[in-house]
């Protein structure tokens, strides 16, 4: 029997994978993907809770979050393009002119 | 008719406003505005001191405007005997300072802007009877010191090498004083919160705390915050090191106010707030502070002895003399407290005079170093005369206000802190050592050829500030009664209040309360 907790744990794991990905992958595109993963972890949690509560709002919220995430990635990709054009790199480690 | 206190406070503030709109080339006009903005307070302060109702005492000439209702803040001005004297002191020094500032030739407008701002701030502190505005003006007085020293000041050199740059001095002074102020602010806020009267009004707090005294433990904690916080500017040993360096770097008119009045803010604040509002804390902590201020007296004097820069000598001497003020406060007898307040006046005027003189000498000779000076009495007879007078006033010669005040402090602190009183007398000897050395080195001896171009303060106008200051010293010194009575109106009740929770002083003195007068009769 798959309970709410299973979903929540899965969502937690997804979230953690996303977070670790952000911290370890150097490529900005991968980082954007990992951010997606984090949002989707939250989405999963919303849906699971919605189901458990018998509340449709949970699924409704997910739609909003997906929209927001999509917008986020759009901006992110635009910046990634700028990076590759102007800075000739997608490696975030190489972009550290601003520090201290 | 406008309240005199408001007039005192607003005149320099209006001066600031006016200066903002004056074009920077109109130097003569700018100077006149500044003179006017300090002359009005001088006259008004004299009026206040003479018209103070001596039969009733307490705080007088109130101006009360509710300001921040939610916090219990009110714009409350008022003077008692103590602050009336200090307002007069500040008015005299500010007026003299503005006249001395005629030596400033560049960026005159900005200079006077900051200078008048400083003056306004100090007046505000002395006049405020509200903790909020007290602190408000206090901080406001400190900050203009930064540009005043930084822009118009001078570096301290030893053998051609810059030892303390004016930037260092300005920054140190500002940060040091602000740190102290903030410490005091936290104490004030703690006091405000814990007394629960929901008012920042000093008079209301006084009454409230008299009716509902603060817990002794709390007082024990709050008192040092206030005493040390305000003690920084007093300056209490070992927190004094900002002051001589600041004195040395500042332009002379600023050193004047700095040493004459700014330092008094600290001792005044200690009298007005912690001593007044936290009697139990005072009783617990004053012996410690009395110890520290003995260090002020002796150590400051000894360091002054070893200095070669005139401003450093006077700077350390100020810190030494403020030790007497603090000792007078700590001893907490009406006599010593009166002496302390009178010494604030006397030392203020004296040190303003000294810095004005050093300023003149520096302007004329471009050096403040004792070994490079000498024999100036021949070229500058007027300045030399004033210089000798200042030195004598500083070493406590009768006829000057300082003598009376130091006398009262020593007599007054004899019962409570005998060792400190003895050391205070020793301090007078030390003062004479460096003061005489300075007078000897600067004015006497063979005339130095390289100083032959130095000019005296020749015109009556150039002499006016010096004459005003010396007259103040002499008048009070020769006839101290009126001023002492005025101060006494406020100190006596204050001491009684502060000592009320403890044993009265007389117990320390005598086991038997026999009246000797009756026996003799």
């Amino acid at each position: 029997m798959i309970t709410l907790n299973h979903y929540l744990v899965l969502s937690g794991v997804l979230f953690a994978i996303g977070l670790v990905g952000i911290m370890t992958r150097r490529n900005v595109l991968m980082i954007l993907l990992c951010i997606e993963l984090m949002f989707n972890a939250a989405n999963l949690s919303f849906v699971a809770y919605g189901r458990a509560l018998g509340d449709l709002n949970g699924q409704l919220i997910v739609l909003f979050v997906i929209t927001v995430a999509a917008a986020e990635v759009t901006v992110g990709l635009a910046i990634a393009i700028l990076m590759s054009r102007q800075l000739k790199t997608l490696n975030v480690d190489e972009v550290r002119q601003l520090k201290w | 008719m406008m309240s005199p206190l408001l007039m005192i406070l607003l005149a320099p503030a209006m001066g600031v406003m006016l200066l903002l709109w004056l074009p920077r080339q109109e130097i003569r006009l700018i100077r006149r505005v500044a003179v006017g903005a300090t002359f009005i307070p001088l006259l008004t302060a004299l009026w206040v001191v003479t018209n103070f109702d001596r039969s009733s005492g307490g705080y007088q000439f109130h101006v009360e405007v509710p300001w921040i209702a939610a916090l219990g803040v009110g714009f409350h001005l008022g003077v008692d005997g103590i602050s009336a004297v200090l307002v007069l002191l500040h008015a005299i020094c500010a007026f003299a300072g503005v006249l001395i500032s005629y030596a400033i030739k560049e960026r005159v407008k900005e200079y006077y802007l900051f200078y008048l701002l400083l003056i306004t701030g100090v007046f505000g502190v002395f006049l405020s009877l509200d903790l909020f505005f007290f602190y408000f003006f206090y901080e406001m007085a400190v900050i203009p010191m930064y540009p005043l020293i930084g822009v118009w000041g001078s570096d301290t050199k030893e053998g051609g090498r810059v030892v303390f740059s004016k930037e260092y001095a300005a920054m140190k002074l500002t940060i040091y004083l602000t740190s102290g102020a903030v410490l005091a602010l936290i104490g004030l806020l703690w006091l405000y919160v814990s007394c629960g009267a929901q008012t920042f009004d000093v008079v209301a707090l006084e009454e409230h705390l008299r009716a509902h005294p603060l817990d002794a433990r709390l007082q024990w904690w709050i008192f040092p915050l206030l005493a040390v916080g305000f003690g920084v500017i007093a300056p209490l040993w070992p927190l004094h090191s900002w002051s001589p360096i600041g004195h040395a770097a500042a332009p002379s008119a600023v050193s004047m106010l700095h040493a004459a009045v700014l330092m008094k803010l600290g001792s005044y604040a200690i009298i007005r707030l912690p001593l007044n509002l936290l009697p139990l804390g005072a009783q617990a902590w004053l012996p410690w502070i009395a110890g520290l201020c003995t260090m002020n007296i002796i150590y400051g004097g000894l360091v002054a002895m070893a200095q070669k820069d005139l401003k450093f000598i006077i700077g350390y001497s100020s810190s030494s003399h403020m030790g007497y003020v603090l000792l007078g406060i700590c001893a907490l007898t009406p006599l010593s407290l009166n002496g302390a307040v009178l010494l604030m006046f006397g030392h203020g005027v004296m040190t303003a005079l000294a810095f004005a003189l050093v300023g003149h000498i520096y302007d004329e000779t471009h050096t403040r170093s004792l070994p490079e000076l000498g024999g100036l009495a021949k070229r500058l007879p007027f300045i030399a005369t004033c210089g000798v007078m200042a030195a004598m006033a500083s070493s406590g010669l009768p006829g000057f206000a300082n003598f009376v005040a130091e006398m009262m402090v020593i007599f007054g602190s004899w019962d409570r802190y005998r060792l400190q009183a003895v050391l205070a007398v020793l301090g007078i000897v030390i003062t004479s050592v460096y003061m005489l050395r300075m007078v000897r080195g600067v004015f006497f001896g063979g005339a130095n050829e390289s100083l032959a171009h130095a000019k005296d303060a020749a015109t009556p106008f150039a002499r006016l500030p010096y004459v005003v200051l010396i007259a103040a010293l002499l008048i009070v010194g020769c006839w101290p009664k009126p001023l002492v009575r005025l101060i006494d109106l406020s100190t006596r009740p204050l001491v009684a209040r502060t000592l009320a929770p403890a044993q009265p002083l007389e117990v320390h003195i005598a086991k038997e309360q026999t009246s000797i007068t009756q026996i003799v009769r």
Binding site: A42, Q86, Q97, L98 | -
Partner: protein, 475 residues
Amino acid sequence: MNWPVVAIELAVCGWIAVLLAGDALLTPRFAGLERGKRQRRLWSLAMLGIGVLAWVLGWQSRWLGQAFGPMFLFDGFAFTFKWLFLITTAVVIAMMRQANPLAITHLGEFYLLIFSALLGMLVLASINDLLLLFIALELLTFSLYVMAAYVKTDPRSIEAGMKYLIMGSVSSGFLVYGISLLYGAAGGTGFEALRALLASGPAGPNVLAGLFLVLAGLGFKVAAVPFHLWVPDVYEGAPTPVVALLSVGSKMAGMIVLLRLLYSVALPVAAVWTAVLAALSAATLLYGNLAAIPQTNVKRLLGYSSIGHAGYLLMGLCSGLLSGAQAVGFYLLAYLVSTLAAFFVVMIVPGDSLEEYNGLSHRSPFLAAAMFVALLSLAGVPPLAGFVGKLLVLLSAVESHRLWLAAIGGLNVAISLYYYLCVVRRMYLLKPASSKPIAVDGISRAVLFLLLLGIVIIGTVQEPFLRLLSSAIAF
């Protein structure tokens, strides 16, 4: 549906459309305008928008109430802060007038983004629902991502945009995850549901976790340690008007959401968050002010200083007392005028390095004086606005018996005064490298003057402002 309640938001949307149209129509090819004139026209259009919005907001004052069910609240709190957001935006747009040294092309879209950020802020002033909070916050943040990276030719701008985006997204991730937890526990995203949940009894770990994840997301906005790391980099890299918007608008938005959330919803668990926020406040104060000392870039310096100010804001917030919340409100007001004035000067003075400020008082006495006043106000010196803000915040810390925190706050007053005075030192004490005067045009001068006047008036006549904010912040 009670449409007038959202009138201002609708008006912003409308004006965004107007700007789009204007941008399209006022092209050189179409309207025959040369570049400079086109820029001025667009600026006027944006300014006109602010005027219209101000009028709408004034009119709207009669229509306090709710919209979208209970999701959107238009109360005194919202009304007051919407005004402040409007003022902030107006000043930021005014900054664009004097000079456009940042070579911002596509100016029409830039104004559009400013307005969309404004929309986000306006909504944030009214949120009463976690979902709406999330969406409005993202709207604000997205606009800022784009604006931060707006100077496409400047690598630093791109870097700033990239860093801001990644950090912002991560924080959004935490925020939305936290919201999901709270949703699960409360059964809804509305503040009412949450309030009922927290009032019902001791909060479980999942509720607290949700709450604190939300706090982390908002902490990112207000630049609280340890969520502050993006601040110096983004401030340094992004165009100055954007930084002004970031440091005032975005921070204020985060702060008022925190205020509403903590004081109207989370008071029952105040014991938990006051302690945590106090720790954050101390860390933020020390980090921001200490690290600001060795800075040599004015925007980076102001970035660290803005972290320090976040510490003071948190200090008021963590008192858990209404007076503390009101202190935060006043602090925000003082911070707003002072910071905007400072950034206004930064905008006009060419170059970001502190070297450029050497001898500024010779090159432009007015700018130097303005910077002097603004910085001292930020440092908390009377008779300027910042002083009263600091006083109130410290008072709230003492009132909540956190003397250690007040002591740290006091210590930081001195530290911050030090680095502000270092700038003053450059402006007044040092000699300029080039004696070329800096011209300030009339409008900039007027706006700057008004800001300075505001600083002084708020600092001396505190009562009306305090009363205004106290009546607004009364949940």
